[in-house]
């Protein structure tokens, strides 16, 4: 069901409607909210990675002028709130009771009349810890002498293993590998993808405001999923859901960091209920990096079985997943490893088998975040890295090896060996376009010439397949809530519209792009359609924005809601024009009588009529709502090519060029899409070369502030080049697939592949990210390639 691009709305580089307030500094972010009598909360955190709490002395803190209260785990425990469920069927401490499980874990919540007093209060709380042995190496988590990190659930889970998950055909895959060992080729690679952090420039926080008189709790919150959070607050805190209002105002970036519920939010709510006053809690950057949802931390063993000609047969993957102290990963509940089993990628594997073993360590909790589409970043990294290794093994150019193994366009809808049904794709077209744009042959010639002169230049390719738009309700749920999404449109008598959606922008431009979707369906100007979201009292229920799901799911709901509006308008037009509906034609903005184009009614006239001259057999008004349960996920894709030069004196990698060809199906706003790609590429560069959170053997975090966690500046970031192909999604009402995370999924391995490519002629097959200058330098030294 390919869909036409309408003349008005879709495909236009419409300038953003939301800019007007941001460029004036009049955004309304959570920390901008100030209410009369508002109090401030700040958190006492553990300096230890693993310790018993012997005593918490709050007496000095209570003497600090301005400090009103100090809430501890014991106080919460009395209300049954010391522990809360996570999105991954684990429980997480809100405030530590008898022990702390990671450095910077929350231990007490100070409530004060102002920020500074709250900080002084935190400094004055005296906690007596008894350190315990620390476990930071996930490979040791299942050793017999490993400390048991979660005695609180030892009946259900007697070791540090959280789960074992597997999918695919174990036997058939093993047979394929056996065959390849004899008659083909087997390539193996271990890869570690370190822990990283989404680090949006705005940290997490909330203002919780409970009104005793009305029993209404309003929470301004950095939330990417306000409705889901409302329901979770209701269930966990036992508050009546119709008296909870979550407001996500403007959000300064999310990238998955603002999907989980954090202890600070719960404590602020409790403090507000206890004091009857609004309570603001805003974390600082160190708290954000050290305690909120991280991404990655996957130890992967990947193997490919192929013929000697390089045709892939089977993929086998084992992953050790480090979730930190609590499994607080945010993903659909039936998929503990998210969508990791997209790892057969763009290639036609006949068999595959994937296992993931997850363990606890003394590190901050989480697992799924940082623009990852639920572990698709990990999946795409492994397959693109190992395909390169396969290319070396069989002596083929990495581009050629990919082209010969791509799923062919005629194979779609394509059922992968791990049971995903890819909706559409043309991988060859994207790669060939990228190759043409960079003059791939020319680059290979240049590389050969440079090698003779001892100059190190590399070309890396990543031909990724994404999987987004979660998702069909029978398989996809967040904490049990099916992952549909919604749109409600109300057209006013004078022809202007107000739409509300269940997703939540954190910069993706929904106020503009969703207006464009409606504009295209109704032939109106996007200026005449205002889009709201984020207030659970008014927006229809939705599951929020993350994993690139807004366009695929809420975008579909929006198009369908708009079509319902148009359908009703058609009935009104038939009534006014005194013809049957079947005698009417539509052109953007109006219905007219077939054969008599002059006889028509504009959408504005029909809106007015809905209120003033409505057919007696119809309800007055012109509004519609749609809750959309998608039939499938969508599969954006692309090919990226990266060119690097290596400094033989320092090991520094310089990215000379980066070409990104993306295919996200129908494009709503090319300007917004390009901006998303620029941003996502930068967040792909970051883990490839700069960002890493690690812990030393004492459980001390490294990378817990912006001095050590290396966010790329304008100087590290190359000038990104973009291009596109367009393969619409056959099942989506406007053929759109979503694009926000394609670049974070596709980019890191393009860069890694380029660096490896630069050194492949001396036998290098893999370098773990982040690719630091000293990692490269060690290889240069080992291979005798250093110079001044």
């Amino acid at each position: 069901m390919a869909t036409e691009v309408h003349a008005h709305g879709l495909g236009e580089a419409y300038k953003r409607k939301e800019d007007a307030r941001f460029i004036r500094g009049q955004g309304n972010y959570v920390d901008d909210v100030q209410l009369p009598g508002m109090l401030y909360g700040d958190i006492v955190r553990s300096p230890y990675g693993h310790a018993l709490i012997k005593n918490i002395d709050i007496s000095e803190a209570l003497k600090v002028p301005g400090v009103l209260a100090v809430i501890t785990g014991k106080d919460l425990d009395a209300a049954g709130l010391a522990w809360m469920p996570t999105l991954s069927a684990d429980t997480e401490a809100v405030l530590a009771l008898d022990r702390v499980h990671y450095q910077m874990q929350e231990v007490a919540f100070v409530v004060a009349t102002n920020r500074y007093a709250a900080a002084d209060g935190v400094a004055a709380v005296d906690v007596d810890y008894e350190p315990l042995p620390v476990l930071v190496d996930p490979k040791k988590a299942l050793d017999p002498d490993a400390p048991l990190l979660r005695p609180d659930k030892k009946d259900k889970q007697p070791t540090n293993q959280i789960y074992h998950w597997e999918t695919g055909e174990r036997e058939a895959t093993e047979a394929a590998f056996a065959e390849a060992e004899l008659n083909g080729v087997v390539v193996r690679q271990e890869m570690f993808i370190p822990r990283i952090h989404p680090a949006p420039i705005e940290t997490c926080g909330c203002v919780a405001d409970f009104h005793k008189a009305t029993g209404k709790l309003t929470v301004w919150m950095t939330s990417q999923a306000p409705h889901a959070h409302r329901t979770l607050f209701a269930i966990v805190a036992g508050l009546p859901e119709h008296r909870i209002r979550i407001i996500s105002p403007d959000i300064g970036g999310g990238f998955g960091n603002k999907v989980p519920i954090y202890p600070g939010y719960v404590c602020a709510v409790v403090a507000s209920i206890t004091t009857g006053k609004p309570v603001k809690w805003i974390e600082d950057r160190t708290e954000n990096l050290s305690s909120t949802g991280f991404g990655r931390d996957y130890h992967i063993k990947a193997e490919v079985a192929a013929g000697k000609d390089g045709n892939v047969q089977a993929l086998r993957v084992h992953t050790l997943a480090d979730h930190g102290a609590f499994d607080a990963a945010a993903q659909p509940t039936k998929f503990p490893a998210g969508l990791f089993h997209i790892c057969t990628g763009s290639y036609d594997f006949k068999n595959a088998f994937v296992e993931v073993d997850a363990v606890h360590t003394n590190k901050a909790p989480g697992g799924i975040a940082y623009r990852c589409s639920f572990r698709v970043t990990e999946a795409s990294y492994l397959i693109e890295r190992i395909m390169d290794s396969l290319a070396r093994e069989v002596g083929k150019d990495p581009a050629q090896l990919r082209l010969q193994n791509f799923i062919k366009p005629e194979a779609f809808p394509y059922r992968s060996a791990l049971n995903w049904t890819y909706d559409s794709g043309d991988y060859e077209a994207a790669l060939l376009l990228a190759m043409k744009n960079v003059d791939y042959e020319g680059l290979r010639r240049e590389q050969a010439e440079k090698r003779v002169r001892g100059e190190l230049m590399g070309i890396g390719i990543s031909s990724f397949t994404e999987i987004v738009g979660a998702g069909p309700g029978k398989h996809f749920d967040i904490a049990g809530i099916e992952m549909f999404d919604s749109c409600e449109i109300r057209v006013h008598p004078t022809g202007k519209a107000l739409a509300r959606i269940g997703v939540q922008t954190q910069g993706q431009g929904h106020e503009t792009t969703f207006a464009q979707i409606i504009a295209a369906e109704l032939g109106m100007s996007p200026d005449d359609i205002d889009v709201e979201h984020g207030d659970t009292d008014t927006a229809p229920y939705g599951l929020g924005t993350y994993a690139s799901r807004s366009t695929p799911v809420a975008g579909a709901a929006t198009a369908l809601a708009a079509r319902k509006v148009r359908d009703k308008a058609k009935k009104i037009a038939a009534y006014l024009l005194e013809v049957g509906e079947e005698d009417l034609e539509w052109e953007p903005g109006r219905f007219y009588v077939k054969g008599t184009p002059g006889k028509g009614k504009t959408i504005q006239e029909l809106a007015f009529a809905a209120y003033t001259n409505c057919p007696p057999y119809l309800e007055p008004g012109l509004e519609a709502v749609n809750y959309y349960d998608p039939p499938n996920l969508t599969y954006p894709f692309g090919s990226y090519i990266c060119v690097v030069d290596i400094d033989r004196g320092t090991g520094e990698v310089h990215i000379r060029r980066f070409m990104a060809v993306d295919d996200c199906g129908t494009i709503i706003n090319p300007m917004v899409v390009e901006g998303q790609i620029h941003g996502g590429l930068t967040q792909g560069l970051a883990p490839a070369m700069y960002e890493e959170i690690s812990y030393d053997e004492d459980g001390n975090i490294h990378g817990g502030n912006f001095q050590d966690y290396l966010i790329p500046t304008s100087m590290e970031t190359p000038h990104w080049e973009t291009d596109k192909t367009c393969t619409p999604s056959p099942h989506h009402p406007i053929g759109a697939k979503g694009v926000g995370e394609s670049p974070t999924v596709g980019a890191p391995q393009a860069i890694a592949n380029a660096v490896v490519d630069a050194l492949s002629h001396v036998g290098v097959r893999h370098i773990d990210i982040p690719i630091t200058p000293w990692k490269v330098w060690n290889i240069l030294k080992e291979k005798g390639l250093t110079s001044d």
């Binding site: 920020r115 500074y116 900080a119 002084d120 400094a123 600082d284 950057r285 160190t286 004196g649 320092t650 090991g651 520094e652 700069y690 490294h702 990378g703 001095q707 050590d708 290396l710 790329p712 500046t713 100087m715 590290e716 630091t772 200058p773 000293w774 330098w777 060690n778 030294k781 250093t786 001044d788």
Partner: protein, 292 residues
């Protein structure tokens, strides 16, 4: 994120600042640019009882060359050096140092005097000042001292020989003579970071092309800024050729005492001292012979 408490006073003259330092002793800290001090205060890693703000003192921000000496007022902002044609043209080594301190916004407030007085071994100016043979002017309640910069740093980080009641008021750098040239090279993980390693090299060639002066300073590869004396000695009295450059670079690397940390393993840093010394000396030589 939120500092502890302290008193604050703004001094309006050097004498006033010194008198306040004298009165308050060890509990006082000078607030100049604040770009190093204020973050320390926000993390409560320093807890002075009183801050003495010297930003209101007139006449401490200047760059002027006079009688063979460049006088840099202690309060001169890094961005002043960035934007000064005098510095860019006649003191490219200083330009290369100031432009890599932190980031351009921080440089609007960060001062040259502060960069040196804070004595963070990771700061960039100390190595350059050591290489250039600069002198420090320290004003106390009774007197003014002028001391060579190599007597200003100790082997303890964040410690100098400045007395608690002294204010660093000026840095004096020898003006370039014919046949001199220098360069500062900083290897960093990203813009705004401290150095993985930094090398400042300054040489003067006599009329026969022999090295009559050699200064090599190292950034962030030890507990204090390092003057690579053996490397300097090895260059003196000889032609500066590639063999000599490499020998000096080996000696500079040997003088480094790096620790392994998130900016790289110690061995890598030591190797980088070698590489950067080679590159800095080559650049210094090119400038000394008019090649650049």
């Amino acid at each position: 994120m939120i500092p502890g408490t302290f008193d604050y006073l703004a001094a309006h003259s050097v004498n006033e600042a010194v008198a306040l330092l004298d009165r308050h002793g060890e509990g006082a800290k000078v607030l100049a640019g604040g770009q190093s001090l204020i973050p320390l205060l926000r993390f409560r890693l320093a807890s002075p009882t009183i801050l003495i703000d010297i930003n209101r003192i007139d006449g401490l921000e200047y760059l002027h060359e006079m009688n063979g000496t460049l006088h840099i007022g202690a309060l001169t902002r890094e961005s002043e050096l960035d934007n000064s044609s005098l510095i860019r043209e006649r003191y490219p080594i200083l330009f290369e140092t100031s432009t890599v301190v932190a980031d351009p916004v921080v440089r609007n407030w960060a001062t040259v005097g502060g960069n040196i007085a804070h004595a963070d071994p990771a700061n960039d100016h100390p190595a350059t000042m050591l290489a250039m043979g600069a002198r420090i002017v320290a004003v106390g309640p009774e007197s003014e001292r002028i001391l060579p910069v190599e007597e200003f740093f100790t082997d303890v980080p964040f410690e100098t020989t400045l007395r608690p009641n002294e204010l660093l008021t000026e840095i004096r750098v020898p003006a370039p003579v014919h046949g001199s040239g220098g360069a500062y090279l900083k290897l960093e993980r990203k813009v705004g970071d401290y150095a993985i390693a930094g090398v400042a090299a300054y040489i003067t060639l006599d009329n026969n092309g022999n090295v009559s002066y050699a200064g090599i300073g190292l950034t962030n590869v030890g507990q204090a800024p390092i003057k690579a004396r053996d490397a300097e000695q090895a260059l003196l009295g000889k032609q500066l050729n590639d063999a000599g450059i490499h020998q000096a670079a080996d000696l500079a690397a040997a003088a480094a005492q790096p620790l392994s940390d998130t900016r790289g393993p110690a061995e890598y840093k030591r190797d980088m001292v070698r590489t950067l010394t080679v590159r800095a000396l080559r650049k210094a030589l090119a400038r000394a012979t008019g090649g650049e």
